[in-house]
């Protein structure tokens, strides 16, 4: 007769011991993490901060840093705290489950020359207490996760009416494949490069002109989709001056990979000066070559899509009024230099295949003239 086992069997007793020990370990770990989450959030130097091994994930020579583990705003800091909590819980469960699996594989493997080999092992149909235990423990963990998640959602996600008093409003409009930033309070329009003041809440009103995009600057905030005919509200507050990078995170067609975002965080004075300069109409330089270039710009299709304040007002393509104040162009894809501008105007499809700007088949002379004009747009 094959042994059918029962809860008093030694196999199940061993399982019990392991479960009890695991529960205690996981419980203590959980309590510790709850303590971290509840007690330490307001602290100057939270525990999670000290134990965050982010250096592992960042190559020191990386010029682009888009790691979600390097938060530079209170919002992304909140998110990271929660991320570490769930990560810790996941690691805990991982260690327990995979540990049990490996243990069972080694302990219960069939051995050569086992005298027991002729008989089937104990046929154990189940055990109610054990099964209740491994249902209830996950429920407790899930409860903790739920509460923590809901709390962080409430802290981070704003609703339409929750615009902070002192916030700076920026309308973020996704286009295929570049970003438009409008500052309605400052009368400024720019593309791909978002200038914001440090330590002032930024109120983002995110929408799209064509398909769905997603605005994502990992160091400053989680991502938020840009949806046509629909506005999403999002806020972030940069803590340090500097440059932050991001890109479109929702597949939007051909050049989805080259729809980059550059956020320049300036001090209050620097930002004020920048905004003042950007609100001015385009600089008018009166030299022969520049005038010829301007004529070329107006003669061909350029003005249908592009806007230059005081000259033309296309809205389909980036505003060029202060083109030369930007470091990059073509959706943040290439550095904004004279040589690149020439190559771009000659044939945009060579550089960014599929983009909406056509090659206008200008002569070399016309290209030189129009670039000579464009570089005056400081």
């Amino acid at each position: 007769m094959t042994d059918r086992g029962s809860t008093s069997d030694k196999v199940i007793t061993r399982a019990w011991w392991i479960l009890i020990i695991t529960t205690i370990v996981v419980g203590v770990l959980g309590l510790f993490l709850m303590y971290v989450l509840t007690g330490q959030i307001e602290a100057e130097d939270p525990i999670v901060e000290r134990f965050t091994p982010t250096d592992v994930f960042v190559q020191p020579d990386a010029e682009w840093n888009t790691s979600i583990l390097e938060p530079r705003s209170p919002e992304s800091r909140e998110i990271r705290k929660l991320s570490w909590l769930v990560f810790a819980i996941a690691v805990g469960i991982f260690v327990v489950v995979e540990g049990l699996l490996v243990y069972a594989i080694i302990r219960y493997r069939r051995r050569k020359g086992d005298p027991e080999d002729t008989r089937e092992p104990v046929q154990l149909y189940g055990s109610n207490p054990v099964e209740i235990a491994w249902t209830v423990i996950p429920i407790i963990i899930v409860l903790v996760l739920c509460l923590a998640t809901i709390r962080t959602i409430q802290t981070v996600q704003p609703t339409k009416g929750e615009r902070p008093e002192n916030a700076l409003t920026v309308e973020v409009i996704g286009h295929r494949w570049w970003w438009e930033f409008r500052y309605p309070e400052l009368n400024v329009v720019t593309a791909n490069e978002l200038f914001i003041p440090v330590e002032r809440p930024i109120w983002l009103e995110i929408t799209s002109a064509d398909v769905i995009h997603s605005f994502w600057v990992p160091e400053l905030q989680g991502k938020m989709d840009a949806i046509p005919a629909h506005t999403n509200y999002w806020k972030m507050t940069a803590e340090e001056e500097g440059t932050y990078l991001g890109q479109c995170a929702e597949y939007c067609g051909n050049q989805h990979a080259n729809m980059l975002i550059r956020v320049e965080v300036l001090d209050a004075d620097g930002f004020g000066a920048w905004a003042q300069q950007q609100a001015l109409p385009a600089v008018v330089v009166d030299t022969e070559e520049v005038n010829l270039g301007r004529e070329v710009f107006m003669k061909y299709a350029c003005q249908n899509c592009h806007a230059i304040a005081g000259l033309c007002d296309g809205t389909y393509a980036p505003d060029l009024t202060h083109l030369m104040s930007r470091v990059t162009f073509a959706g943040g894809m290439i550095p904004n230099t004279e040589a690149n501008l020439k190559a771009w105007i000659d044939d945009p499809q060579q550089i960014k295949p599929g983009c909406d700007m056509p090659a206008l088949k200008l002569s070399t002379k016309e290209i030189e003239q129009v670039v000579a004009y464009l570089v005056t747009l400081k």
Partner: protein
């Protein structure tokens, strides 16, 4: 008394002679075994194609600023890879195993509707071929402009006429629509077969877990697929009749597509994993020499997962700006679904616990499945945390997550099932040595490919980008992923060789090579035309245990 027929080869079908007769035999067959094999074989064929598409992507991404393929080709590759793997590999292979095994496991002679079964298969196959016809129809012929390039979930309004002027999206819609009809037919067929054709004595609670999982999958197919069909029909109306469903410029809603698609999409994920749970629940007990632990809880967990899978869809949409309370609801619902999933994993551990494990290839895959699926499940729980999802949704972290679930989970389970049931289907054993090599190489390869993806996601790499700048710290992780792809490819080659070699020269299997307990092992390998003669009758969940241990049958304990 349990009654089992004696496996005899007397009733083996007469093999038709001549190539034409054989082809005719396979094309016109309504036999669930042949259709099951056709499903599995076509699925594995598409698996090869989908794998090559993945290889092109990994080649392009192996280095920063690479130019192996352009953006258009790359976008087509990930669209076709995703669509193929979900609709033309996962579903047909799993439903194919269901087709082959369910009538055998419940002790009957065929599916409830054999002709519907054949219809379902051919709809699936020609739907898939229609989708792939878009490749050939490029360069203006029929105006397709190449394969679809909108991603496997084809978000509106990227799929509208405005942003997709050719017919490639139409190929995507129609191919999936047609193969979807086939899947629905097969889903209904499975449910009816299981509910109506069980052999004498096989009550619902005596069915093998695999049968339960197919029953639940059938229901999910019935519920999820029509919603996708409806959404695709709306999209067709939008594209051809100018209706306004998903056109935001004309007061339609871009989000309605996402709600409908993911109402299908999340149950779909469970359609892809629940049959895998079934395979594992058959393999683990046999190679542990133990009865499945907590049968009732396993069944409850399956049904629980199926119901709950219909209330978690918006966790794919945390970044679209839903109301905070909705976000919280869907997060909670998603966390909750982890509980039945956990119950299943623990019950497999409980089955192994105290057993006498022998590590044949099917068992290796089953254990690999448990190990890898746990990782995918845990990153899934992390992703359910809404704020963390704002950080990493649509990044490579997500790609890593679902490949652990669908490759480490579903594909591992499929390989386990192939090694386990190959002897039954062909009468010959697959080579154990090659199988073990394949397992270890695949295990290393998949971790090398999909592990680093979590890190590139955390470093801010969005999914579906065809290129990335060299100075972002992403180089090494992408290179590792690409190397991992090559390692996996070697494993797949070994598998191909193993199958061909074993079909011709493999060791003869006999009716019951694994000393197993479910009904399919009570008939010949391969089973005769009508499976059982006479039909069996059972008194417990393990009829073959009762037969092998007449002095100590199961039904005295259940």
């Amino acid at each position: 008394m349990t009654v089992l027929p004696k496996p005899t080869s007397a009733s083996l079908p007469a093999t038709p002679h001549g190539i034409l007769e054989r082809v005719h035999d396979w094309v016109t067959t309504c036999d669930h075994k042949k259709l099951g094999l056709l499903y599995i074989f076509s699925g594995l064929f598409f698996f090869l194609i989908g794998g090559i598409e993945a290889g092109i992507m990994r080649w392009q991404l192996a280095q920063p600023a690479n130019d192996v393929v352009g953006p258009v080709t790359f976008n087509q590759m990930f669209t076709m890879h995703g669509t193929t793997m979900v609709f033309l590999v996962g579903m047909p292979v799993l439903l194919g195993f269901g087709n082959y095994l369910i009538p055998l496991m419940i002790g009957t002679r065929d599916m409830a509707f054999p002709r519907l079964n054949a219809w379902g298969f051919w709809m699936f196959l020609f739907g898939g071929l229609l989708l792939y016809f878009s490749f050939i129809g490029s360069s203006g012929l029929f105006g397709t402009q190449g394969a679809p390039d909108v991603g496997w979930f084809a978000y509106a309004p990227l799929t509208s006429r405005t942003f997709n002027r050719g017919n490639n999206v139409d190929y995507w819609i129609l191919g999936i629509l047609v193969s979807g009809f086939g899947s629905m037919a097969t889903g209904i067929n499975l449910v009816v077969t299981i509910l109506c054709l069980r052999c004498k004595g096989m009550t619902l609670m005596r069915m093998p877990i695999m049968v339960w999982s197919m029953l639940v999958t059938g229901f999910l197919v019935m519920i999820a697929l029509p919603v996708l069909t409806a959404a695709q029909v709306m999209l067709l109306f939008d594209r051809f009749l100018g209706s306004h469903f998903f056109n935001p410029q004309l007061d339609g809603s871009a989000l309605l597509w996402q709600h409908l698609f993911w109402f299908f999409g999340h149950p779909e994920v469970y359609i892809l994993i629940i049959p895998a749970f079934g395979f594992i629940s058959e393999i683990v007990p046999v190679f542990s020499r133990k009865v499945i632990f907590g049968y009732t809880m396993m069944v409850i967990a399956l049904v629980w997962i199926a119901f709950q899978s219909m209330s978690v869809w918006a966790h794919h949409m945390f970044a679209v700006g839903l109301d905070p309370s909705l976000n919280a609801f869907f997060a909670a619902s998603t966390f909750l679904i982890a509980i039945p999933t956990g119950i299943k994993v623990f019950n497999w551990l409980g089955t192994i616990w105290g057993g006498r494990l022998s590590f044949h290839t099917p068992m290796l895959y089953a254990l690999g499945f448990i190990g890898m699926f746990v990782i995918g499940g845990l990153t899934g729980i992390m992703l359910a945390t809404v704020p963390f999802d704002w950080d990493v949704s649509d990044s490579y972290f997500v790609v890593g997550h679902f490949h652990y679930v669908l490759f480490g989970g579903t594909i591992f389970a499929i390989f386990g099932a192939v090694f386990y049931w190959f002897p039954k289907m062909t009468g010959r054993m697959l080579s154990e040595t090659l199988g073990k090599w394949q397992f270890w190489i695949l295990l290393i390869g998949m971790n090398l490919t999909f592990g680093p993806m979590h890190i590139s996601g955390i470093l801010g790499m969005p999914r579906r980008i065809y290129t990335y700048a060299p100075d972002r710290g992403l180089d090494i992780w992408n290179l590792l992923s690409s190397v991992g792809y090559l390692v996996q490819f070697i494993a797949i080659l070994i598998f191909g060789w193993n199958v061909i070699h074993s079909l011709l020269k493999g060791r003869k299997a006999g009716p019951d090579p694994w000393d197993a307990w479910t009904l399919e092992w009570a008939t010949t390998s391969p089973p005769s035309d009508w499976n059982f003669n006479p039909l069996p009758s059972v008194k417990s969940r393990r009829p073959l245990w009762d037969a092998k241990h007449p002095e100590d049958p199961d039904y005295e304990y259940e």
